[in-house]
């Protein structure tokens, strides 16, 4: 496990270094003399872009084009027929105003924010607590930490159906545990008061490993000498955490939270499989609403569905840009 944790800092450095601080290799490998050297730089530029051609074409055809299609969908009145035969009338921002005035809009927005906020808060705090715990290097700590990865690696549909089974009103193990504790059973998935909480619970469970691994690798990059010095100065455990660990972990924390945010905003599978956003929109987020509009009904509403999706993209990109900024300003840790 040790060798992997070392790749973390070096890879971060690698990405930072790729932004052109060192001289381009072309200049170094070029033969002396003006003419050939220039020639060599130009050929190497060609070669370099030659290697980038597949990914550039890929991004254009399989990212930019679907995104453009999606934008186009959101600006037109699409039906299945107009998909095949063309000729969907231009609707301007009509789909967007429809969506914003839809009674689902406000709850979906609120649920998206609550789902994201609550998931992030608990994933991060639990992940950090566990990272601190596992950082103490006791027997079996590496093995147990590896086992913690399991929930993150399982297909989401597997986790979601397992949680559905555990939260089943009549024969779920969670209600049985409540029964043992003398608490009346809860309709986790079928009551509008509990459905959002249920999907948040499942999502926290899935996200803890990701937070644990990233924060653990961050802890490893804090020099042990600092703790020894602090201990000599008589700092207690809490002081060591609040004065050393937490401040020095800030860059890693920021990246963990932002990656988690971007990931959580687009969570769809878990909610859709556990509750389908219901009952009566009580666990609908932008992601599931968009899906339901586009694919969940017999008569698909592609235009409004795409509009909801694009609103989600705007939110995600907003936070994404913050993420990229922090990546740039964070010195190689």
């Amino acid at each position: 496990m040790n060798d992997t944790t070392q790749t973390a800092p070096s890879s971060v450095r690698g990405r930072g270094g790729a932004r052109g601080t060192s001289a381009p290799p072309a200049a170094r490998t070029a033969r002396p003399g003006r003419g050939p050297r220039r020639h060599s730089i130009r050929t190497s530029q060609w070669a370099a872009w030659g290697f980038l051609t597949p990914v550039t074409a890929y991004l254009a055809v399989f990212y930019a084009y679907p995104m453009y299609k999606n934008l186009d969908l959101s600006l037109r009145d699409y039906t299945v027929m107009s998909f095949v035969h063309g000729g969907a009338p231009f609707a301007g921002l009509g789909n967007y105003t429809t969506v914003i005035h839809d009674p689902t809009f406000a709850p979906a927005l609120a649920h998206t924010l609550i789902f994201t906020g609550a998931s992030l808060f608990f994933q991060y705090t639990l992940g950090l607590g566990l990272a601190l715990f596992f950082h103490q290097h006791f027997r079996l700590s590496a093995t147990l930490r590896a086992l913690f990865l399991v929930p993150w690696l399982l297909p989401l549909i597997v986790s979601a159906s397992t949680w559905s089974w555990m939260l089943n009103s009549d024969s779920g193990v969670v209600n049985y545990a409540l029964h043992l504790a003398g608490i009346t059973p809860v309709d986790w998935l079928t009551s509008p008061h509990w459905s959002l909480i249920s999907v948040i619970l499942a999502n926290i469970w899935i996200g803890i490993p990701f937070n644990l691994v990233l924060l653990y690798s961050g802890l490893q990059s804090i020099p042990a000498g600092l703790y020894e010095a602090a201990a000599l100065d008589g700092a207690g455990a809490w002081q060591r955490f609040s004065r050393i660990t937490f401040p020095l972990l800030r860059p890693v924390s920021a990246i963990t939270l932002l990656l988690g945010l971007i990931y959580t905003l687009k969570v769809f599978d878990i909610i859709w499989i556990m509750t389908r956003g219901g009952p009566v929109d009580s666990s609908t987020t932008f992601a599931t609403w968009s899906y339901r509009l586009g694919f969940g009904n017999l008569l698909p509403a592609f235009g409004p569905g795409a509009a909801v999706g694009n609103l989600l993209v705007i939110i995600a990109l907003l936070f994404g840009l913050i993420y990229i900024r922090t990546q740039r300003t964070t010195p190689a840790a």
């Binding site: 490998t29 190497s44 530029q45 370099a48 399989f62 549909i157 691994v213 994404g320």
Partner: protein, 279 residues
């Protein structure tokens, strides 16, 4: 650090191991509960209290998987391998170029890749639906493979770039002095040295393609060949309350993830820390 006597230190460490085992057990309880349900007889599924050990275990659930889910598993395997091939083909050369050749404008491309990682799957699904419908690739495996690869390509390029940056420039200079062009340097030196990156990217790509539900359900739900995620989904959707069969399918669908964790644990952690975003 204060230095407790060795015995006390050992006792404290033992206490931590015990606590760690408790934490792990709590965390993995859902996984155990899935396994338990997959072996439970129909008549015992609704029992109160639930059986915490499948004492009267049955393989009925797994028999159902064998009878009904094998084609789905085959499709998932095919789609996963094809997605890996496509992703490696696109991402490895790009990583080489970004790490070692660094042409003008590559910063913009890196930026585009970071943005691409942030686009929610539902957006891509809708766009792909429109495109695949007009190009008659809807409900076909190539269409699904292309869509699945979009989850992995940006991640793949980032991982390859990070790994290949660590390859010493001297090795490549030596090749250039021997008259090797960029392509030969790539295939003869860079690729063989990037085995770890290839393994990491392949593992994650396969796992994501295997686990994908959103593209499968939007782009392949009417197809003749459907992946295992849809197999499970149909089980749940049919409202059949055969939870042992559902959970048995879930267990089988988890095999690649488990195998991955056992065989390639160090690659998993490396992949996450290199900037993985699970889609």
């Amino acid at each position: 650090m204060n230095t407790p006597t060795p015995t006390r230190a050992r006792a404290r460490a033992g206490w931590k191991t015990a606590l760690g085992i408790v934490f792990t057990a709590v965390m993995l309880f859902p996984v155990y509960w899935m396994l338990n349900a997959s072996f439970t007889r129909d008549q015992d599924l609704r029992k109160t209290p639930p059986s915490f050990l499948p004492l009267h275990g049955t393989l009925d659930g797994y028999r159902a998987v064998l009878h009904e889910q094998l084609p789905y598993l085959g499709t998932s395997l095919t789609v996963g391998l094809a997605t890996v091939a496509l992703t490696l083909l696109v991402a490895a050369p790009a990583g080489y170029s970004l790490a070692k050749l660094r042409p003008r404008g590559s910063g913009t491309l890196t930026f585009a890749l970071l943005v691409a990682q942030m686009i929610p799957g539902i957006i891509m699904a809708m766009g792909f639906y429109a495109i695949l419908l007009t190009s008659h690739l809807i409900n076909t495996l190539p269409g699904l493979v292309i869509a699945d690869s979009t989850i992995a390509v940006p991640f793949g390029v980032l991982v390859f770039t990070a790994f290949m940056t660590a390859i010493p420039d001297e090795l490549m200079q030596a090749a250039t002095t021997d008259g090797a062009g960029a392509l030969r340097t790539f295939t003869a030196i860079v690729l063989p040295l990037s085995r770890n990156a290839i393994v990491t990217v392949s593992l994650f790509t396969f796992l994501w393609a295997w686990s994908d539900f959103i593209f499968a359900s939007t782009l392949d739900s009417g197809g003749g060949h459907q992946p295992i995620t849809l197999g499970i989904y149909h089980y749940i959707g049919n409202n059949n309350q055969q939870w042992n069969a559902i959970m048995a399918t879930a267990v089988v669908a988890s095999i690649p993830a488990t195998a991955l964790l056992i065989i390639a644990q160090r690659y998993v952690a490396a992949g996450i820390t290199t900037g993985a975003i699970k889609d």
